[in-house]
């Protein structure tokens, strides 16, 4: 018996190899590097890994090949999304590396194993030692995400899902302050995430049962031929549930507010930006590539879920009093808007549709804006960490006009006001939906945007039109890393709003799925 070696295009795999390689180096540094020098080295390794991933994906622009024995599809869409993930991850790593804001020099706990509230824990609270395991863990998650959007095979997709999820569960529990909340978030995320993974896996099994293959291309031909429809549709539903969970689409969003609130804010930013991109990348690939010929199987489902997500996100967002939870519900609402773009699928055989590029552009724009918004959250602090309660933000514009102005920019972008990236993104996805006749959905989406605008505005009202509280929070002076993050995200939010032409064109060119 002879085993054929699968074809392996190393060039196409370079970004993945780069990121995973950096992650492994990070583990070695963690094991053998001297403690004093670990932090700068780990930050350097993580930055090299993510930026290297970004550069190598950019070099791949224009490729469209199926490689690794058909398991990976490195096509325009995959490259665009991988580059987005790598870039956003690099910005997140910069936020992790911020050492000026917290008096104890880091947002992460010194020793996660010490029980919260114990004597040892209280001793460690003020120690200026920093723990660095978060960097290799993040790199593994980033690698998983980049694998996720390129997976051309349901099993690889599942493996990628686990590779990206497990480190995320861990790093959400690493907050230095309010540790119980953080640990609760980690456990919730893990339990619900495990359920979602099980759904996904069961879906893979059913699809395999119906078609005899886990390759997306084989599923596609089976779907086209009309084999085993009941099993297929059931399998599809389970697969989609697993993915919607990761994308925090309502009604699978219940973990989102708790985890966003409990996790350390830089980690929340990383999850909000990168996980969303990865999950939607996988949703797009699964629906368009595997189930494209039989739209009816998923269109009603996505249509309904999109409405639920927009309404739930917008309405529950209104009732929040904590900024991190508010941004979590905002993320749920935006997931609904993204699904509106997903519905802009023009049908099989018509590659010129605007749904795919619109959704990809929205992911990029939303990722940058939400990352920036969370970065602003890390600046505003009271005695016990970040001041995330709404009332604490009253009159912030008088304390720190620049911080308030930057936050307002992000909030207006999230609300979709013209001349910000949020508007361009919304316009793109709604146009895609209306072009495909889904104008009632677009109308619901627009009304949901109006409702959501209310809670974004409320923050602006508080910052600008209210008098500051006497014992309000202080606005920390960020170090270089957070300053870079804020500058990049704010500039991108404006540029993608005022002159989005070239990026839209890029997304248009990249909107190709092979496989």
């Amino acid at each position: 018996m002879s085993i054929e070696a699968p074809d392996l295009s190393l060039a196409a795999l370079l970004p993945l190899l780069f990121v995973f390689g950096a992650a492994c180096v990070g583990v070695l540094v963690e094991a053998f590097g001297p403690r004093e020098s670990r932090h700068p080295v780990q930050v350097g390794v993580a930055l090299v890994g993510t930026l290297g991933g970004l550069v190598t994906t950019l070099l791949l622009a224009g490729t469209g090949e199926v490689t690794a024995g058909g398991a990976l599809a490195v096509d325009g869409a995959a490259v665009f999304l991988q580059a987005t993930i790598a870039g956003l991850a690099a910005l997140s790593v910069l936020m992790f590396a911020e050492r000026n804001l917290d008096p104890a020099r880091s947002a992460f706990v010194v020793s996660a194993a010490v029980p919260a509230g114990s004597v040892r824990d209280r001793e460690l609270l003020t120690v200026q030692r920093v723990q660095t395991e978060v960097y290799p863990l993040t790199l593994f998650a980033v690698g998983g995400m980049m694998l996720f959007v390129a997976a051309n095979d349901l099993l690889v997709m599942f493996v990628a899902l686990e590779v990206l999820s497990l480190p995320l569960y861990l790093i959400s529990g690493l907050a230095r302050r309010r540790r119980l909340l953080s640990q609760e978030a980690a456990v919730k995320y893990f339990l619900l995430g495990a359920f979602a993974s099980a759904f996904f896996l069961y879906g893979v099994a059913l699809v395999y049962g119906a078609t005899g293959s886990v390759r997306l291309a084989d599923v596609r031909s089976a779907v086209g031929a009309g084999d085993g429809e009941v099993l297929l549709v059931l399998g599809l539903a389970l697969l989609v549930v697993g993915l919607l969970f990761k994308a925090s689409v309502a009604p699978f969003h219940t973990w989102t507010p708790d985890v966003y609130q409990g996790a350390p804010t830089p980690v929340t930013a990383f999850m909000a930006a990168c996980t969303k991109v990865a999950a939607f990348g996988a949703i797009l690939r699964l629906l368009y590539v595997a189930f494209g010929p039989e739209e009816w199987t998923w269109r009603p489902l996505v249509y309904g879920v999109a409405i639920v997500s927009m309404v739930v996100g917008a309405v529950l967002g209104l009732t929040q009093t904590d900024l991190k939870r508010m941004l979590a519900y905002s993320s749920v609402a935006h997931a609904g808007f993204l699904l509106t773009g997903v519905l802009g699928y023009p049908g099989a055989g018509d590659p010129a549709g605007s749904g795919l590029p619109a959704t990809m552009f929205y992911l990029l724009a939303y990722g940058l804006t939400t990352l920036g918004a969370f970065a602003v959250l890390t600046l505003v602090r009271s005695g016990d960490g970040e001041a995330t309660h709404l009332s604490q933000w009253a009159g912030l514009a008088q304390r720190s006009p620049l911080t308030a102005a930057v936050m307002s920019l992000f909030l207006l972008a999230l609300a979709g006001i013209p001349l910000t990236s949020g508007f361009t993104g919304k316009f793109a996805v709604f146009r895609a939906a209306i072009e495909n006749g889904a104008w009632p959905l677009a109308l619901v989406a627009l009304l949901a945007s109006a409702v959501a605008a209310f809670f974004y505005l409320r923050v602006i009202v508080l910052m600008y039109f209210s008098e500051p509280a006497a014992d309000g929070p202080t606005v920390g002076v960020p170090g270089l890393p957070t300053t870079i993050v804020l500058a990049v995200t704010a500039a991108a939010t404006l540029v993608l709003g005022v002159v989005p032409g070239s990026v839209l064109a890029l997304a248009d060119q990249a909107a190709i799925f092979v496989g």
Binding site: I417, R431, V499
Partner: protein, 553 residues
């Protein structure tokens, strides 16, 4: 400078001015004011140059320029004006310097710098220019929405006691309308894409033949946005709040220009792009318009807050404008456009005078004033002119436009026109009652504290009194304004509290008073600019009767 760059300059100059004013250090308020005044005067000059360069008998859109903006969406950065847009630009050009001058001595609530106010004002001017000068529907939408942000901050940061509520209400109403319009804007693009090439260019879209069902949906999308903006009656509730809470300068621009974007939108977008749907929905719109005229006039009479009162009169006037637009005759349409300009001038003036009165007394309530005319004759005189212009007395500018609207609407819509005429009588009532109560009668109210002792039972104690009163008495009299400690003689009280118009205030109102009178006697230049554009619009909607338009000359 090439003519086609005039519009771009009108857009860029105030935007850059706003950036410069905002970047000034916090203690340079005087410089900020001077810079804002200078920039707004430059824009006025540019607007006049544009009017001179415009040939009323030439192409429909002139001074055009266009560069691709977002090729992926088929969006061009296309500017150009027809006669209607041009007169609105002139109105913007006139009102903004007046508002800057009127806000010269304003102080902001809290510790905010007035510098920010002037920066927002200039940014608002840039957006207003953009909204009227855009000939690309997408570009129009962008300015339409972007305009909300500066006004939101003007109301929310510098307004009255309930400014937060008013600012959010204003923003959300407009945003909801705008988002519904966004759906229609995208729909328009999709329709044009199906008919050939996807475009947002107004002229290209105007040539399209859209099927009736799509027309109906798209018309409604645009209509809701404009009806909220204008505002027509069931959707008007945000305006009295915003108008009452906005600082005077903001209120003038809000009612004088921002709301005109709604009626401008009817004329520019609803009628030409969706002629069938416009004809179909016209009766409905006319019902709303006439209901607005009567209902808002009645509400205006019942108001005790002067700024709310003026806001309600505006809603009534917007009813007249909508009547003129949807009567589908060239005279009525021309009248409606003139009404948009004249209302901006007349109501702007009325708001300014009311603001000057409020600055003296510190109270917005009608009942807190009385007998002001005897001590401040110039103030009362201007108040009277503004009031008469609002009720459209012959010889004032509004008369021309109101008369044109009514005479133009009567042949096609007699019933609505007759009902609207009742609104004129009501207008006379609410304006004259306001004037009589505040300016005549025995001296009483917050400006005459000596009398408060006699009428202490009826005087409403309000915290604003003391502050307003001391602000209005630079002589530094030690009165606290409360009835019990006001031991001044009446003569002294009058001397310190009721100042007549200062030279700055005269400079603020003089141009508007002059316009009220000049345009009342000789409206011909405006009519000449507006009429060809209206005739073109009416022929788009298939209802114009070009030969009947001679009557307006």
């Amino acid at each position: 400078m090439s003519d086609s760059l005039l519009l771009l300059a009108m857009l860029v100059v105030p935007a850059l001015g706003a950036a410069v004013v905002a970047a000034l250090p916090g203690d340079r308020e005087a410089t900020a004011k001077q810079a804002a005044l200078g920039v707004s005067l430059v824009v006025l000059v540019l607007a006049v140059l544009a009017a001179l360069a415009f040939d009323p008998d030439g192409e429909r859109f002139q001074l055009t320029s266009s560069v691709p903006w977002i090729p992926g969406f088929g969006v061009d950065f296309a500017l150009g004006v027809d006669g209607i847009a041009l007169v609105m630009l002139l109105l913007v050009g006139v009102l903004v310097p007046v508002v800057v001058l009127a806000s010269w001595r304003d102080t902001s609530p809290g510790r905010r710098s007035m510098r920010t106010f002037f920066a927002w004002l200039l940014l608002l001017e840039a957006c207003m220019v953009g909204v009227f000068a855009a000939t690309d529907v997408f570009l129009f939408y962008v300015f339409f929405e972007a305009m909300l942000v500066p006004m939101y901050f003007i109301v929310g940061s510098f307004g009255g006691p309930r400014r937060q509520y008013a600012a959010v209400k204003f923003f959300l109403y407009s945003l909801v309308g705008g988002l519904v319009m966004l759906a229609a804007v995208i729909g328009l693009y999709v329709v044009s894409e199906a008919a050939g090439e996807g475009t947002f260019s107004f002229t290209a879209l105007n040539d399209l033949d859209i099927d009736p069902t799509a027309q109906r949906l798209l018309f409604l999308g645009f209509f809701v946005a404009f009806a909220i903006k204008a505002p027509l009656v069931p959707l008007h509730t945000w305006l009295p709040d915003a108008g009452a809470e906005a600082p005077i300068g903001g209120a003038v621009l809000l009612v004088g220009v921002l709301d005109k974007v709604g009626t401008f939108g009817f004329l520019r977008y609803c009628l030409p792009l969706f002629p069938d749907a416009s004809r179909e929905f016209a009766p409905l719109v006319l019902v709303l318009a006439v209901a607005g005229i009567l209902y808002a006039a009645l509400l205006a009479m019942g108001q005790s807050d002067m700024k709310r009162l003026v806001s309600y009169t505006s809603i009534a006037h917007f009813g007249f404008i909508a009547l003129g637009v949807f009567a589908f005759t060239t005279e009525a349409g021309t009248g409606a456009v003139l009404y948009m300009v004249n209302h901006g001038i007349a109501t702007g003036l009325l708001f300014l005078v009311v603001g000057m009165l409020i600055a003296r007394g510190g109270s917005r309530l009608v009942g807190d004033y009385g007998g002001v005319a005897a001590h401040a004759p110039k103030l009362a005189g201007v108040f009277l002119v503004a009031g008469l212009a609002s009720l459209a007395l012959p010889g004032t500018n509004s008369f021309v436009s109101e008369f044109l609207v009514l005479i133009g609407s009567f042949p096609t819509r007699p019933v609505f026109t007759v009902l609207a005429t009742v609104g004129i009588v009501l207008a006379a009532l609410y304006v004259l009652l306001l004037y009589q109560r505040t300016m005549h009668g025995p001296p009483r109210g917050v400006l005459f504290p000596a009398d408060d002792d006699a009428t202490a039972g009826t005087a409403v104690p309000e915290p604003g009194h003391a502050a307003g009163a001391t602000a209005a008495s630079p002589a530094g009299v030690t009165t606290t304004g409360t009835a019990g400690t006001a031991t001044l003689t009446r003569a002294a009280g009058v001397a310190t509290r009721v100042r007549d118009l200062s030279r700055r205030e005269v400079a603020v109102v003089a141009p508007l008073v002059a316009l009220v009178l000049v345009l009342g006697v000789y409206p011909q230049p405006l009519v000449r600019l507006v009429e060809p554009a209206v005739a073109a619009t009416m022929s788009d909607v298939g209802a114009g009767t070009p030969d009947s338009s001679e009557g307006t000359d």
